[in-house]
C-alpha cells in the first residue's frame, strides 16, 4: 500500500486534482481509498463521495488540529489492516501542517510505511501572487513538507521564473510539476504525478 498526503489551500484545485488522481489510479486497475480530513475547515466535498471503486473514509481529528496527525496514522493503519488498498490518498485541510504530519509518521509509523509515504502540495498559480503576499505563513507551511509540488492552473497564469524560484525555495528538493489539472484526463494527471514520485525517490536514494 502506497500513501499519498495531499495538501493545498482552499480553491487551489486540490479537490479536482485528487479526483483525477483517484480515477487515474482506478483506471490502472488499482484500488484506492480516500481519507478526508474535514475538521477545522470547509467540509466534505460531496463530489468525491460515493464514486464507484473509491472508498471514502472521514478523518476525525477532534476539535483541534494537534490531534490530527495521531488520528491520521491510526486511520491509515486501520485501512491497511482491513482493506489493504493499493493506494491511500489523504485530502488534508488547507490549514493542516504537512511537515508536522510527516514528522509524526517518521516517529511513530512502521519504517516500511514511512518509506511508502508521498507528500504532494498544490500551489494555485492563478492566485499565487495574492496568496503568497497575504498568507505567506500558511503557504510556507504547506509547501515545506512536500516532496512533490503541483503548480496548478497554469493555463490561467503561467509561472514566471521568479515564482518558480520562490516555490523551489519554499519546498527545497521537491519535484515541481506545472499543469492545469482540470483540463487533463485522469490518466494524464496520474502519469505525471506518479513519475514525479519515482523521480523524487530516485533523487533521495
Amino acid at each position: 500500500m502506497e500513501l499519498l498526503l495531499c495538501g493545498g489551500f482552499l480553491g487551489s484545485g486540490k479537490t479536482t486534482l485528487i479526483n483525477k488522481l483517484l480515477h487515474g489510479i482506478t483506471e490502472q486497475g488499482l484500488t484506492v481509498a480516500l481519507i478526508e480530513n474535514e475538521a477545522c475547515q470547509e467540509g466534505i466535498d460531496a463530489a468525491l463521495t460515493g464514486q464507484e471503486g473509491i472508498k471514502v473514509v472521514p478523518l476525525f481529528g477532534g476539535c483541534v488540529c494537534c490531534q490530527l496527525s495521531g488520528s491520521l496514522l491510526e486511520t491509515v493503519q486501520k485501512l491497511e489492516a482491513e482493506l489493504s488498498p493499493d493506494w491511500v490518498v489523504v485530502e488534508l485541510t488547507g490549514l493542516a501542517m504537512m511537515d508536522n504530519i510527516r514528522e509524526v509518521f517518521r516517529m511513530y509509523a512502521p519504517k516500511d510505511l514511512t518509506a511508502r509515504l508521498h507528500t504532494l502540495a498544490v500551489a494555485d498559480m492563478a492566485r499565487w501572487d495574492k496568496l503568497v503576499l497575504r498568507m505567506e505563513p500558511v503557504i510556507r507551511r504547506q509547501l515545506a513538507g512536500a516532496d512533490t509540488v503541483v503548480i496548478n492552473k497554469v493555463d490561467l497564469q503561467p509561472p514566471s521564473p521568479q515564482t518558480l524560484a520562490q516555490i523551489e525555495a519554499l519546498s527545497p528538493g521537491a519535484v515541481i510539476l506545472s499543469m492545469s489539472a482540470a483540463s487533463l484526463s485522469p490518466a494524464e494527471v496520474w502519469t505525471q504525478v506518479s513519475k514525479a514520485f519515482v523521480s523524487g525517490k530516485e533523487c533521495t536514494e
Binding site: Q67, G70, R134
Partner: protein, 369 residues
C-alpha cells in the same frame, strides 16, 4: 501546597523547590468518555454523564491540580462554529467536529463596529445551532452553560481540583477569523483593514466587560482566551502586531487591573510572537502551548515573567510507552526546577481519544514521585 496554592504560586512565576510544587493539568474534554466506556454522544449531550466519566478517569489515574471548567456539551456551543455532533452528523462514538464556513459578510464588520459584536454574535449563534434557535432559546442555552459551569466547579472543588478559569472567551481577532472563515478573513486584513480594526476595537471592549462581569461572582479570578488563529503558522508576525496584538494586550492588561489573571490558549507556533508578551505585566498570564511552539525556547523567552503550560504531545500520549512519556515530562520538570518555576505540566492541547491510559498515568505520576 494544595492545588489552589500550587496554581497560584505557578501563575505568579515564583521559584519552586521540588516537583510536587508543579501543578499537573491533562486537558480532558473527550477522553474520559473512552475511559469510562461511555460514547461521545453520551458525554456531549449530558454534562452529568461527562462528570461521571471524569470521576471514573480520576479514580484510575488520580486527581489533577487543574481541570477545564466546561464540559463538551458546552464547549461545542462555546466554540461558536457549526458543529457536527456525535450521534447526529458523525458516529455516536466519534469526536465532535467543527465545520468552518464563511458565515459573515464584509458589511458585518460595519455592523459590529457600529452596533457592537454581542448583538451580531448572538444572532449568528442562533443560526448555527441544530436546529436554529430563537433569541429566547439562546438565552436559555447561555443560562444552561452557567448552571453547568457552576455544577462542574462544585464537583472539582469538592475534590480539591482547581477549575482553569472562571470565564472564557476568544479574542475578537481569532473569533472573526473563524466566523468569516480563515481565507476570507485574511483577504479582509488586506482589502478592508480599517473595517476589521474597527470591529476588533468595538468587540474587544465588549469582551472585556463581559468576562469581568462573569467573574464578578466567581471565586476563580482567571479568564481563558482562546487564541486559535494568532500564531505564526496562520499569520505573519507583522499582521499579529498590527491586528491581533493590540486588542490582546488591551484585554490582558484590563483583566490584570481588575485582579484577573489570563490563561492564553496559544494554539500553533507562537515563538515569533512571544517577545511581545513580555510587554504584559509580570505574572499576568499563563501561556498554554500545544506542542507546536518549541517549549524550551518559549520558556527561555518568558522565564521569570509569565508562566507556561505544556506540552506533552497528543501523539506521544497515543503511540509511545509510559517510559517515554515519563522522560518527556521529566525534561519539562527539570526545565522548571532549574529555571524559575512557572510551569503547569500539561498536555499539548487536549488528551486524544486514542491516548493509552498508562501514558496518562505516567504523566500524572511524574510530578508525584
Amino acid at each position: 501546597m494544595n492545588s489552589f496554592e500550587k496554581v497560584q504560586h505557578c501563575m505568579d512565576v515564583l521559584p519552586i523547590k521540588d516537583r510536587h510544587d508543579i501543578p499537573v493539568y491533562p486537558m480532558m474534554l473527550i477522553y474520559p468518555g473512552r475511559v469510562a466506556g461511555f460514547t461521545q454522544q453520551d458525554i456531549c449531550e449530558d454534562t452529568d454523564k461527562w462528570l461521571e466519566a471524569l470521576e471514573i478517569t480520576f479514580q484510575k489515574v488520580g486527581y489533577p491540580d487543574l481541570c477545564q471548567g466546561n464540559g463538551p456539551q458546552d464547549v461545542i456551543f462555546l466554540h461558536g462554529l457549526e458543529a457536527m455532533r456525535p450521534g447526529h452528523e458523525v458516529g455516536p462514538d466519534e469526536s465532535f467536529q467543527l465545520h468552518e464556513t464563511c458565515r459573515m459578510e464584509v458589511e458585518d464588520y460595519e455592523d459590529i463596529a457600529k452596533n457592537g459584536r454581542l448583538q451580531w454574535y448572538n444572532r449568528y449563534l442562533c443560526t448555527i445551532q441544530h436546529p436554529p434557535m430563537t433569541p429566547e432559546q439562546l438565552g436559555q442555552r447561555w443560562m444552561q452553560v452557567g448552571m453547568n459551569s457552576a455544577k462542574i466547579g462544585q464537583y472539582l472543588g469538592s475534590h480539591g481540583v482547581v477549575p482553569i478559569h472562571g470565564s472564557a472567551s476568544a479574542p475578537v481577532f481569532d473569533a472573526l477569523s473563524m466566523t468569516r472563515s480563515f481565507q476570507e478573513f485574511v483577504y479582509d486584513l488586506y482589502d478592508e483593514p480599517d473595517l476589521v480594526k474597527a470591529a476588533i476595537k468595538r468587540g474587544t471592549s465588549e469582551v472585556i466587560g463581559q468576562v469581568l462581569g462573569n467573574l464578578e461572582h466567581s471565586p476563580i479570578k482567571r479568564a481563558s482566551l482562546f487564541a486559535m488563529r494568532s500564531d505564526a503558522n496562520s499569520i505573519s508576525p507583522e499582521i499579529f502586531e498590527e491586528f491581533s496584538w493590540p486588542a490582546l494586550k488591551e484585554m490582558i492588561e484590563s483583566f490584570h487591573k481588575a485582579g484577573v489573571q489570563t490563561v492564553l490558549h496559544a494554539d500553533g507556533n507562537w515563538l515569533p510572537m512571544l517577545p511581545k508578551l513580555l510587554e504584559l505585566p509580570k505574572g499576568s498570564t499563563l501561556v498554554e502551548l500545544d506542542g507546536v511552539t518549541d517549549i524550551h525556547k518559549a520558556y527561555d523567552i518568558l522565564k521569570g515573567w509569565l508562566a507556561i503550560r505544556g506540552d506533552v504531545p497528543a501523539t506521544l500520549m497515543a503511540f509511545s510507552t509510559p517510559d517515554e512519556v515519563s522522560a518527556y515530562c521529566e525534561d519539562l520538570i527539570q526545565m522548571a526546577l532549574n529555571g524559575s518555576g512557572g510551569l503547569v505540566l500539561g498536555s499539548g492541547c487536549e488528551i486524544p481519544l486514542n491516548c493509552k491510559l498508562e501514558n496518562l498515568q505516567a504523566m500524572m505520576d511524574s510530578v508525584r514521585k
